[in-house]
């Protein structure tokens, strides 16, 4: 490309913890550029699609949240190996929907779902509560286009950035009807863009899977919901859905 710039494939590994594996699956999506994308990677470990497993990776994609002691150990071992540890997807970045479990007592869960059987389970944690995270790629699931862009940046030595502004701007660029006009609460104004407003374009309110945008105005947002007389219960359910606004509002 330019004289002096050399690109090396990323020695990458992908690991899943407590999750649905939907984010990993995205790695195999967007088929039109898939072979180009795979060409950028030297996949050292990716159990979901490959039997070849090596432990000499530089970049570890961590999918899922942590909810069992054995997962903590596994994650710490990965942290020791990885130069760059990536929280991959909403579960890894914020705890994700799994965190909804934390509203209940652990005992109650196990007894109700596995009567008469010992099942180990703990409070759901996001990755950064257990190990240091170098890079976060939020999304439920992650947006493959964004992942591709980030991987290209990593390969070419560019800086990796996520949009700082909220989803609304991408929503408006799609010329959508604002869901507030339809009488619904949408978390678009406080959620980090980058998904191309996929939910609101499908006429479904944003539930904030990408977490808060930079310097959000939560007070104004709560005020707006109140002023429009929208359901507070609905608001709380939405803010709690991915656990991404933890600490930014009083439930």
């Amino acid at each position: 490309m330019h004289k002096g710039t050399t690109f090396e494939k990323l020695k990458i590994a992908s690991f899943d913890f407590t999750c649905c594996e939907g984010c990993q699956l995205q790695l195999a999506n967007r088929e039109s550029t898939l072979t180009d994308f795979l060409d950028l990677l030297d996949i050292r470990n990716f159990r979901e699609i490959s039997s070849e497993q090596h432990n000499d990776y530089d970049i570890a994609l961590i999918e899922g949240s942590i909810s069992r002691p054995d997962e903590v150990e596994r994650l710490q071992a990965i942290r020791r190996q990885a130069k760059t540890l990536v929280a991959f997807g909403t579960c890894a970045c914020f705890g994700g929907v799994n965190s909804l479990k934390n509203r209940f007592s652990l005992n109650e869960l196990a007894v109700e779902v596995y009567p008469g059987m010992e099942v180990e389970t703990g409070l759901v944690k996001k990755i950064s509560e257990v190990v240091k995270v170098d890079l976060s790629i939020p999304g439920c699931p992650v947006n493959k286009e964004e992942v591709e862009r980030i991987v290209v940046s990593l390969v070419t030595g560019s800086q990796v950035t996520l949009p700082k502004y909220p989803v609304c701007i991408e929503c408006k660029a799609q010329i959508n009807t604002c869901l507030f006009d339809l009488g619904e609460i949408c978390l678009g104004p406080i959620t980090r863009a980058g998904c191309n407003a996929v939910c609101t374009t499908g006429k479904t309110p944003c539930l904030g899977c990408r977490g808060p945008a930079e310097e959000i105005n939560m007070a104004a947002f709560l005020e707006l919901v109140k002023e429009r007389g929208l359901s507070e219960n609905d608001l709380r359910e939405k803010l709690a859905f991915y656990n991404a606004f933890e600490g930014l509002y009083q439930p």
Binding site: M1, H2, K3, G4, T5, T156, G157, S158, Q159, T161
Partner: protein, 305 residues
Amino acid sequence: MLDKRFVIPLQEINREAFASSIPDFNHRSEIMKTDMGYKCTITNIVRLTEQEKLFQLRIIDNRERDIFKFKPGQFLMLELPGYGEVPISISSSNSNHEFIELCIRKAGHVTSALFTVDEGSHVAIRGPFGSSFPMDEMAGHNVLLIAGGLGVAPLRAPLFWINEHRDRFLNVHLLYGVKEPSQLLFTYQFDEWELINHITLHAIVEHPTGEWQGKSGIITELFDDISIDPENTYAVVCGPPVMFKCVCNYLDKLGIPMNRMFVSLERRMHCGMGKCCRCMVGSTFTCVDGPVFNYWSVMNLKEAI
């Protein structure tokens, strides 16, 4: 089947025809490009410090090289394909038609990538853009060139101009302040500036380390070393935003008229042509109305400095 009578014909915009199709294009199409850049070869790279490199660029096309003319203080948009475009002040003499020099600090995305390329790489430039230092107006007077840190980069062009027209100026002082001695740029030219060009150089560092024999402190302390005739002096100030206020205030107190002090501002820019609006200060564009402003007009601009 389409009915030909009602089909709107395509009106193509041809690159060449475009320039002439706009009446008030001010004949600028001859010298500046608004979309497609001039392709250049990086002919030389000098590492000045840990953070700064001097890039020497040569426009490849002969005709384009001929028509590329700029004035001291102007900047251009430098494109590193694949990474992006950044505004950079031209740091060489405008009488040099062979190459352009840019002094660049590794600050972010594009500039870091620039630091990885080798000589011989190709980049593109658009421009030149923006206002310039009024060299002719300054002629016949004493000149204070005041630079903080990387601010010396845009001052190099007027410095070259003065050197080349040295007999048209009275006393010329370069006051130059940095944080640490290792950050001083162009030290290799200091002797030349002083001995050959008779420019009095005053350098000061905030945190003296190692071998540093010179003065230490902040840049305004350098004013103690020189006597300034406020009636007959022009000042050019370039540096981080915090510097402008204290230096200009000082000069103001000395009695130098505000319209004889010039500053060069920095803002985020994406076009260089007053279109993206990222660089606006009040109702002023840093890229079109600036980056060089006289202090009077900036003083009046809220939030400028």
